[in-house]
């Protein structure tokens, strides 16, 4: 007689791999409780503090796993150097976004907003280790659902519109992604990425499935022509959310893309499957920078610049070389700091409900706030890829990796894109240092907000240091089992 036995299928090591992600998700709950318990005056400070402590704890815990790769839950979540690096980038971005959010937003919403941000981050952390279609989908949706709400949680005029656009377009892309997953499952009979390397059945089914999967991924990375949502959503969303989105969604999705490209594709055929991705990366480098030329809103400009930056990062993966991945991760780290630094400067120019993202609010900043303007110039130099910044170092490395992998056309387009971008970024520098005939919009920097200042300082130091000492982590090849 078979008596049903209670079997716990997974051992504690499986759960240990997910601990950092859990910690972030549970911290969100703690924030909500803390929001209820603390007196109104110190509520926002308490919420931000709890959130940051939780994130830092998760970051420390995640580092414990370094050097002990493990395929948890039957290969659904593979922890290792690769996942940890991406998780750390997500955590750093979340911490900086929380620092920025301190100066902004309505008092009574901070608890919910911070909790949603943490949940979104935990979704990205899940994606960092996801090696199974279900985990990938769960991570992407956890990340996105929380972001839809975050976009809507503001009384700014464009916030709800941006949330609606983001929801509809992103869900459509998720539909493509999901249908692609269905076809991949149909072609291989497995949801594990590890089963894709030698698909047993029809190759047409597998290829179309991979194609639709990549459509969804390119949408989340906002690569041209799937980028259309980005500028509108970035402009409408509250500033800390935009900053968060610009790094965290990209980091999580890039982890999925890299794992898929490096570990899950049938080897002689992978190059042909990934070719369209390199092409959209090239398009992004050009279109993103050209479109940035015409922008007058900083958030929109940074949205277009982000499109181009992601193009650079994906270009580094071209040819799926080991060095390419390491350089892509380095550039992603550099992008995190220079991009968040630029956003933090905008946050310092903002008052509640009135974000200083119009180009005019930078007029004459070089005279009113020389340090802030200097920092902004430095971040823009880095975004444009000029020395002595991490952006320059990263771009040199990416050029080297693209050339080594035989993608000379991609490298050439990267240089062209860089040349165009210099003029887009220089527009901001000009506004800051030009003597304008019209009176600049006087906008005092909010004095109480020491936290965004800290954010600017940390980002500037990191951008400078990474420029001279490119910490390119080793042991980051993604695994699928």
């Amino acid at each position: 007689m078979n008596t049903p036995q209670l079997v716990i299928p997974y051992v504690s090591a499986d759960y240990a791999a997910l601990v950092p992600t859990f910690v972030v998700a549970v911290t969100a709950l703690v924030v909500i409780v803390a929001d209820l318990l603390t007196p109104k005056k110190m509520r926002r400070a308490a919420n931000v503090a709890v959130g940051i402590i939780g994130l830092i704890a998760a970051g420390v815990l995640a580092l414990q796993g370094w050097g002990h790769p493990i395929a948890a839950f039957g290969g659904a979540f593979v922890n290792g150097g690769f996942a940890i690096v991406f998780q750390e980038i997500v955590i750093v971005a979340a911490v900086f976004s929380l620092l920025m959010s301190y100066a902004l937003g309505r008092e009574d919403q901070s608890g919910g907003a911070i909790a949603l941000m943490l949940w979104s981050a935990s979704g990205a952390m899940l994606m960092a280790g996801a090696a199974n279609l279900m985990t990938v989908f769960l991570g992407i949706e956890l990340l996105s659902l929380a972001l839809y709400c975050l976009c809507a949680m503001s009384s700014r005029p464009g916030a709800r519109e941006s949330a609606l656009k983001y929801l509809i377009l992103s869900s459509t892309a998720s539909g493509f992604l999901l249908y692609g997953m269905a076809l991949l499952f149909g072609a291989t009979g497995s949801v594990a990425l590890s089963a894709f390397a030698n698909p047993p059945a029809s190759s047409a089914l597998f290829d179309i499935g991979a194609g639709m999967f990549l459509i969804g991924i390119c949408f989340k990375l906002s690569l041209v022509p799937f980028h259309v949502w980005t500028p509108d959503v970035y402009e409408g969303a509250p500033l800390p959310v935009t900053a968060f989105m610009s790094v965290v969604t990209k980091a999580g999705t890039l982890a999925v893309l890299a794992r898929f490209a490096y570990a899950a594709l049938p080897s002689p055929h992978g190059a042909a499957i990934m070719l369209p991705v390199w092409i959209v990366a090239a398009l992004s480098m050009i279109v993103g920078n050209v479109a940035a030329l015409a922008q007058t809103d900083l958030k929109r400009l940074l949205a277009y610049s982000g499109i181009a930056q992601l193009g650079y990062i994906v270009a580094s993966l071209a040819g799926t070389t080991a060095f390419g991945l390491r350089y892509a991760i380095f550039y992603l780290g550099a992008y995190t700091f220079m991009n968040l630094g630029a956003f933090a400067v905008v946050a310092l120019l903002s008052r509640d409900r009135d974000e200083g993202s119009q180009l005019t609010s930078f007029n004459g900043l070089g005279y009113r706030q020389p340090i802030l303007a200097g920092a902004m110039t430095f971040f823009l130099l880095s975004l444009a890829g000029l020395p002595p910044t991490a952006g320059f170092t990263g771009k040199i490395l990416i050029l080297a990796s693209a050339v080594n992998a035989g993608f000379v056309w991609l490298a050439a387009l990267l240089v062209v894109g860089t040349a165009i971008s210099v003029y887009a970024y220089f527009k901001i520098v000009r506004a800051m240092y030009a003597q304008t005939t019209g009176a600049p919009i006087r906008r005092a920097v909010v004095p109480a907000s020491a936290l965004p200042w800290a954010c600017v300082a940390l980002c500037a130091v990191a951008t400078l240091v990474l420029g001279f000492y490119p910490i390119v982590p080793s042991d980051v090849l993604p695994l699928v089992k």
Partner: protein, 655 residues
Amino acid sequence: MNLAFAMTAASPALLSIWLLPLVGAIVIWTLGPQLRRNAGYLGSAFVLVSFALALANFGAAGNATGLRAPLVTWGPGFAFGLQLDALSLLWTLVITGVGGLIHIYSIGYMWTDRAIARFFAYLNFFVFSMLTLVLADNVVGLLVGWGLVGLASYFLIGFWFYKPTAVAAARKAFVINVFGDIGIMFAIFACYAATGSIAFSDIFAKAGTFSEPLVLAICIGLFIGAMAKSAQVPLHTWLPDAMEGPTPVSALIHAATMVTAGVYLIARFAPLWNLSPTAQEMVAVVGAITMVTGAILGMAQWDIKRILACSTMSQIGYMIMGVGVGAYQAGVLHFFTHAFFKAQLFLGAGLIIHALGDEQDVRKMGGLYRKMPFTFAAMLTGTLAIIGFPFFSGFYSKDAIIYEALEHGHPILFFAGALTAGITAYYMFRMLFVTFFGSYRGDVPDAMLAIAPPVPGAYAAHDDGHVEHAPTWLMQAPVAVLMVPTVIAGYLTIGGESSPWYRYFGTLFGHGGNVAGVPLAIPEWASTIFVLVLVTLGIVVAYLRYGNPPALIGAVDRLRGEALKMPPVLAHAFYVDALIATAIVRPANALGGAISRYVDPHVIDAGVRDVAWVAGMLGALFRALQTGLVRAYALTIVVGAACFIAYFAYLGTAR
């Protein structure tokens, strides 16, 4: 997490030469408020110690490989380090030596400026950047130095940031230099793609295997950078404007060091240039055009610093022409002598400007030789050197360039060089006569001299009161020291091919191309005499127009008439500024803005306008495509998706 770079032991002397100015910049920046004027002494000390160390390593650097200091290795082909060979040592000595003297001079010049500590932090940072440029043993390090130098010069030109003209000049210099940086980036990218390494030694070792078009492409990329930094036509317009910075900055950056970086670049890449006669031709011709243009512009200036800036442009034209025709030793020698006499001229001009309370217009000067005999002696020595007067340093270097242009088969460039020497003599003596002879015109009303009234709203002359004056020796001593090499630096080449100068460089530059191009029509002494005749003619014309007694007595009327009759094409510097504004500065400033801005009455080159217009239109097009309609966005995504799916369906069935 292991880091993918490794530190290797490096020559401590070389590291100190490189890092001392950086340490100085950081120390002065952090302790600035406490240091006040001591910042000047401290900054000078850091640079002079660096100079002493460089001098101490003179012998070590002169051997075949020079001194090496590997620093950081990121991966295969990505090794960063420093090298001190004959060429970089020469530049290092000038940067730290002349730079150190200018530091000392600046203590006096900036005596009353409240931001004196910030000034010296910038100066030290500039020296560090320049050393990075010349000491790097790889292309990326060179590019980093190149960019840092541009940044430092941006800070220094805009040092008096409350002057809108200074800020505008700083911005202009920065934009044009970034344009050049992109050219160099292209060249570096091509070098790395072709050799898989960033080290000079690897690139030059494999240069022989490059295809002809590749060499040409790399050379063009490098030359765009050199043109921007060394103010070659048509990217020269930032240089006269950059005189908005404090005078020591003009002397250090825009005469002695930074603007000659282009010469260094070409000399450093000599193995590549030697492979491409076309590229050499291009460099030589652009250098010659700049040389003539600068000299012609110099005849039409009234601002003493602008006269010197135009002469700088012209002299760098000589150097570029020299290295372009393959006469590397002569071109580099002219850099060496020019650094001394031009620094001296600028510092002398600074003495005048300082004494007259920030007056820079030569029409308001006159008769100064009696009041300032020391300054007059300094300016006279500098002038004699720059015009190539026999037995002064410029005589040897300029003469060598002009003659070698002929020797390498460029008779037209030879005549252009000789003619420019004559023009140089004319406008330098014009400046000397107007400034130092006749009677003092400082109290003559502006209208009498046809000096245009200041633009309304422009910042009035910088004035810190000058109540408290620095000790005079602080500013005079560096000038006096500079007078020595201004006279004697050229003696190094006496003896031709067997002189110390030529032996020092040895085979560093390889063979500079087609020496046997044309049978020589005249021997060297004939060429020298020909040039000297033209120089004398220039001096005589200047004397007749400005120096003889009737001209001196009627100076006010004469200067007014001349200012009014100045041909507009000269007064507007050949309208190149308008062209540059259209080609580079304006697109940078306004790309993507109103299209009407591109339809500009000053536009000369329609092709340039079209490029800017296309970029602006594309930006506007992308803006227009972003309609804000959700359905339009969804359609874009679906069309993109359809392309993807079509590709993959094809791929799946074809497999």
